[in-house]
């Protein structure tokens, strides 16, 4: 476990903003500028070798006023069997580079993070809404979006030539 963290801290040093170990889950926080670089390193380095992106998710922390959004990538290595969580904090409207070039499976994850939280991804091949309708308004997983009541979408009973 420490070999993994050593490799990452040796490569990035102070650019790793924070490391954590809660219940055995290793976590590192990086700046959004280093997002793609750190994940590329994690995938390609011999000591880390994270060959699969387990999931990538957005998060909203309204109490953290300076950077209320977060992006979390959960990596897993089939070679070593270890896992790592990489986090970055984002402001409203801030975009990060897409990691679909590293792991194609990030495609849906990033589309979901975009539609649910409004986190932008530069270089994403097809950044449109995934789970909700095309004309849905607002970002439903944000904490200020009401849970109940069909707020952002509208029920259409006609397909309007969309299908």
């Amino acid at each position: 476990m420490s070999a993994l963290m050593d490799a990452i801290t040796a490569a990035f040093g102070a650019r790793i903003l924070e490391t954590g170990d809660f219940r055995g889950d290793l976590t590192i926080s990086v700046a959004p500028e280093a997002w793609l670089e750190v994940l590329t390193f994690c995938r390609d380095n011999e000591a880390t070798k994270f060959d699969m992106l387990d999931c990538l998710l957005g998060d909203h922390l309204p109490e953290r006023a300076a950077a209320p959004f977060a992006l979390v990538a959960q990596l897993v290595s089939h070679t070593y069997g270890h896992r790592l969580r990489v986090k970055t904090a984002l402001t409203e409207g801030q975009a990060v580079p897409s990691v679909t070039s590293l792991w194609p499976s990030a495609n849906f994850d990033e589309r979901e993070a975009w539609e649910m939280y409004g986190i932008g991804f530069t270089g994403h091949p097809n950044l449109i809404r995934l789970l909700t309708t095309e004309d849905f308004e607002g970002f439903p997983m944000r904490k200020d979006f009401p849970l109940e009541g069909t707020v952002g979408g509208r029920v259409r009973t006609d397909l309007r030539g969309k299908i």
Binding site: F22, R23, D25, T27, D51, M52, L53, D54, C55, L57, D59, H60, L61, V72, Q74, V76, H78, G81, R83, R85, W103, P104, S105, N107, F108, R129, L130, L131, T132, P140, M141, K143, F145, L147, I163
Partner: protein, 445 residues
Amino acid sequence: MSADPHTDTHGAAVDTHGHDSHGHDAHGNGCAPAGPKRPTTEELIARKAATRQEIEPGADLMTISIGPQHPSTHGVYRIVLDLDGEIIVDGRPEVGNLHRGIEKLCENRTYHQIVPLTDRLDYIASFAMNHGFCEAAEKLMGLEVPDRGRYIRTIAHELARLSNHILWLGIHVMDLGTQTFFCICFRDREYILDLWEMLCGARLTHSFARIGGVAKDLPDGFEYRCRKVMEFLPKRVAEYERIVKNNRIYYKRAKGVGVFTAEDCYAWRVTGPPLRSAGIARDLRKDEPYAAYGEVDFDVAVEYNADVYDRFLVRMKEIRESCKIILQCLDQMPDGDFISKDAGHVLPRKSEVMRQSGAMIQDFNQVFRGPQAPKGEVYRAIEVPKGEMGVYIRSEGGGKPARVRFTTPSFYHGQALPALAKGEMIADMVAIFASIDVVLGDCDR
């Protein structure tokens, strides 16, 4: 797909009964190294290239939409395919037709209230979903599950796997043209559901796991009936294999179709039986043991050809292994509590709530305030029948999570379908889609 370029590996399986040409017998667990027959990754890629058709650049493409109401999309999946003649050039999946915002709902519910919501993720193997969430919540709260609870969970999880695989088999083979076989599978699945009714009263949406254990102890007579079913299911699997495995029609439609190598699986996060059919013995039950999987003896089902046929073989082996696991759990079943006694995080037994004041206070606290979790974030992945399911929980303290994310296998399997089907014939799309086992409730969340 008349020109099948690699009948050499499996050609004998068509004509002989009960033995395939892997070098081990058809009823073995198949986890031994396959010897010289095992293809290398390069061979698999070459096979993939050979089975897949040449796509002319700039050809006139025809676009067709399959789903969301289509009998073989297993729900309301929709894919828009670009075809060059009969060859699939590209596809654009559309999901979300069953999206409920379950993660948003989780942020407004206590941990105990989330357990029934997870039933409706993968409703074919509900307990696996309950289990995944409870494992994650226990990791967050630092709870220990008592031994008996862990063993009951293992039995329940394997029952979910059995009912999932048998249902999958019936529908998969029905997609390829049989109706009777579907009825055979449903006949056997009902025996599993009977066991479920004994355990928790429900057939489909169990909500049987609780944070800290399970909802109920094993009922009287369960062990006897469970043993009966577990002894009889492997015979049924042999029957399935007699019907399907050496069936020339099924063989022709499944063999060499939809080859997806291990590298492809990693890139697209395709896990579970499709990954194991590509020769990777990755099974979280072995690799990161949870419940009682560390204490029972079972083999990871592996096949090497990475096609639809091998995914079928992997699932058949997993049914046999599941029966083995359940029988071992029944043998080794320890005495004691089935749910933790931790009053801060666990619901009390219902029988005690109206009799003991302590239990009543605990019940009140748990129902109204929820289990008080520490601040922090955890990720827990378990092996559910369809693949690896992960649960991410971020807690700000208190009885409700601040963020829950269900990383469900179908979400990624549905996404990978265009990559799987590219270069294949349109008629094989149905077989390929079924082979990766997508359930849309699981996918859309």
